[in-house]
Symmetry: C2
Amino acid sequence: MNFEQIKELTRPLINKVSPISEGSLDLLSDLIVVEVYEKGDVFIDRGKRNNKEYFVYEGVCRSFLLSPEGEEITISYFLESSVLSPNKTRTANQISHLNFQALTKLTVASLNADKFEQLMINHIDIREFGNMVLQNELLTKVEKEIGLASLNAKERLILFREKYHFLENLISHVDIASYLGITNISLSRLRKGLME
Amino acid sequence: MNFEQIKELTRPLINKVSPISEGSLDLLSDLIVVEVYEKGDVFIDRGKRNNKEYFVYEGVCRSFLLSPEGEEITISYFLESSVLSPNKTRTANQISHLNFQALTKLTVASLNADKFEQLMINHIDIREFGNMVLQNELLTKVEKEIGLASLNAKERLILFREKYHFLENLISHVDIASYLGITNISLSRLRKGLME
DNA sequence: GTGATTCTTTAACAATTGTTAATGGATTTG
DNA sequence: CAAATCCATTAACAATTGTTAAAGAATCAC
């Protein structure tokens, strides 16, 4: 993929969050390395070093963790044309505390996180973009937290469908169930219950 | 409270997160205005403008939101000698999307968030501190998320007791229950069940 | 394309959590 | 001090969710 192609993929993705100047887009695009993963690939491993930022160009992925009982818990989904959690929020000393997995064929932009941080420091529009990503990240988490704390599973599934409509027919129900905080058997029951 | 007193209260609080130089501590302390609240006071209102950062010198507070049904959901607790969620993570366009309430008499340092951001940009140790606060904030949220998604209420209460030991005898069980994602009646039952 | 594997659904039963209402204790207010 | 208010507990019952096991459907590998 050449520089221009990268720019044209990156531009709408960034502008959707917080617009930046053409010059800033050039600076960012210069840092981008495109990576492609197959369905099922875990491309960030908990406990391993990671010093990149990521934009999702194409496909869907999730972050997940193992529960105390060793079950995979889906924390978040990331859709096409969106930004992955900022490096600072998913690492400690550049060591990842989450796993990230491609749920479909996945094309991402990766950027060195330190260089990106320098761009944030030196360019107010990139800083604004980075801060907006951060805000959205937290907002999503608070929304999920409220859902888990105040809604029952049926209501959470309804919200999930509003937000991630097409995922339900695309990815494993075990993953979705863990995201909703229920078993996949319960999910199956709820799906039936909502078919009326 | 004079400048030296503020410095001596702020130093350990910051060093606990990520140490900064004496010069940086001076710069930060210069921005600090001390605020005191009474038990029950809501000092940040959802929907209202807030452009401050806060350090908790003394007392305990919580963030909360109203659920769709109008119930208060406790999102987080903040203990003595800790840093409140960064402004960027609890506001959008400087408009707060959470409420914050003093649960005891509360003494906080408040700092202009824009000036703090400038210090973060210009001083690497302050930037490190700010980034660590952010990381801890997210880490806490992910931990809570995992708890809500993978543990039952009894296990969540046990974890709560490990983390916030003394809160249980200090603040309303209605608040704690909403934090745990259960009703206060369930909480009462679980407390009894755990007394054996 | 067929067998093997994985994923989803269903069923029966158990455990957990919610709802409503009543009781008792503690704290506040006048 | 007494009345009023708030908070935590208890009880009875209902609804939700989990567990285990089996069957059916879809997908994958050869």
